[in-house]
């Protein structure tokens, strides 16, 4: 099982932002996508997650192997921590979420409504969601925003455990994740060249 991206061109709002993106992720590997704000990290991850079509290029990934986590955690404030997790487990055809509760130390919070959690605790719940899906490839957008150092360590631990079982992780961030063994991919190198302004003939963009 692997994730292979070749010659990918992606667009935001119809305008190409990154072109010729290529990388391969194999089992047990983590890849951190880096680059300045606005370069297209989020767009790249959303494209790989299948939320938007690429302009050109190939994304080779086994079907039903990917789980995406964006800026927002998709947590319902009026449901308890346990209800939130069990919902996502069921959506992905799983039942057991105790492991996720354990990994992010949510046990004491599990009966609390998610709306009563702090920002960092919510984020932990959002990351715990990844564990209940049972998917091998994690695609994470800024996973450690609003986490304290202890929680970042928890996250790093969870990712390592996931990699150790043959999983993969693709993450976009511009802060340290505490994962020194992860490879880096600076997407600044793939910045799309501005199109010539005289090519009225093509589309408009």
């Amino acid at each position: 099982m692997m994730l292979q991206v070749s010659d990918l061109t992606i667009a935001r709002g119809g305008i190409p932002v990154l072109e010729g993106v290529r990388f391969t992720l194999t089992q047990g590997q983590a890849l951190v996508v880096r680059g300045p704000n606005g370069i297209g990290k989020t767009t790249l991850l959303r494209t790989i997650a299948g939320l938007q079509p690429p302009i050109s290029g190939q994304i080779d990934v086994p079907p039903e192997s990917l789980v995406y986590a964006g800026h927002a955690d998709g947590i319902k404030a009026t449901l308890t921590v346990a209800e939130n997790l069990s919902f996502w487990a069921q959506v992905f055809g799983k039942k057991d979420y105790s492991q996720a509760i354990e990994a992010f130390k949510l046990g004491s919070l599990s009966t609390r409504p998610a709306g009563a959690l702090s920002a960092g605790q919510k984020r932990r719940l959002g990351l715990a969601r990844l564990l209940v899906t049972g998917r091998a490839i994690w695609v994470l957008d800024e996973p450690t925003v609003s986490l304290d150092t202890e929680a970042v360590a928890m996250f790093a631990h969870a990712v390592r455990a996931h990699l150790a079982t043959g999983g993969m992780a693709l993450m976009a961030t511009h802060i340290d994740l505490g994962l020194n063994e992860a490879q880096m991919l600076d997407v600044g190198a793939f910045k799309a060249k501005p199109l010539s302004n005289s090519d009225f003939d093509g589309a408009f963009l």
Binding site: G14, I15, P194, F200, F204
Partner: protein, 246 residues
């Protein structure tokens, strides 16, 4: 007809060139036929023995109603072309046609109401045809509002195309429903070509000229407005690109 040659006009630049060339012709034709048709109808046709001089409203009412429906049909076709072949000009043509169609619907409604006042004794009757046109008007409003509300052009084109398809089905359903709901005062179809005898020749020929005038007017307006939409889109693209570069 060679289809490949036809699709060339889906190229925005080519379309603008063609529109530049065609526009004066259609504008001229529209002006000539519309003015002469309306003058013929208004000044040189007799009053109907039943409806009196109100029959002269037919020269506005029927052609505008015709174009109100044809404009929606054109939007339906161009929406389909956008969905299937993703030619930007097609989506923009649908966008350009919508306000024209809406004004045509409005003319048909207003002239219908003014005509209905002396004939039926009321400004507004919930007659099936008038009601259908009112619903059509609401569809135009929603369609145009959706175009205006969405910033990204491709998203807007996709969403409005699907709305146009779904809306067409529901417009047909509404037409049937309204017919069922109220049998109506409206006279039967007096304009279809095979039922010519319903309308005497004195009324029929100027009506034909007026209908041609409205068709030409519609074509001229849509050509011009599509050209405008293409330029506006090009401008937005250039500005967006500049912002990206900066």
């Amino acid at each position: 007809m060679n289809l490949n040659a036809f699709w060339e006009y889906a190229n925005p630049k080519k379309f603008i060139q063609t529109a530049d060339w065609l526009l004066p012709w259609f504008a001229g034709l529209a002006a000539v036929t519309l003015v002469s048709g309306l003058i013929w109808g208004f000044f040189f046709t007799p009053a109907d023995y039943r409806q009196g001089s109100t029959v002269k409203i037919i020269y506005l009412h029927v052609p505008s109603a015709l174009m109100a429906i044809n404009a929606w049909l054109m939007m339906l076709v161009t929406s389909l072309i956008w969905i299937v072949r993703r030619h930007h000009v097609s989506a923009l043509a649908a966008r350009a046609a919508a306000p024209v169609g809406m004004v045509m619907t409005l003319i048909a409604l207003v002239t219908g109401a003014i005509w209905g006042q002396p004939m039926w004794g009321t400004w507004w009757a919930w007659d099936p045809r008038l009601t259908s046109f009112l619903i059509l008007f609401l569809f135009y409003l929603g369609y145009i509002a959706l175009w205006e509300a969405i910033e990204n052009d491709d998203t807007a084109a996709d969403l409005t195309s699907i709305l146009c398809l779904v809306g067409s089905v529901f417009a047909l359903l509404s037409r049937y429903a309204v017919n069922f709901w109220n049998q109506g005062l409206h006279q039967g179809a007096s304009l279809s070509l095979d039922k010519e005898e319903n309308v005497a020749d004195v009324f029929w020929y100027p009506l034909l000229v007026c209908m041609a005038g409205f068709v030409f007017l519609f074509i001229a307006l849509v050509l011009m407005r599509t050209r405008t939409e293409i330029r506006a889109r090009r401008m937005r693209a250039l500005l967006a690109r500049e912002r990206m570069g900066a």
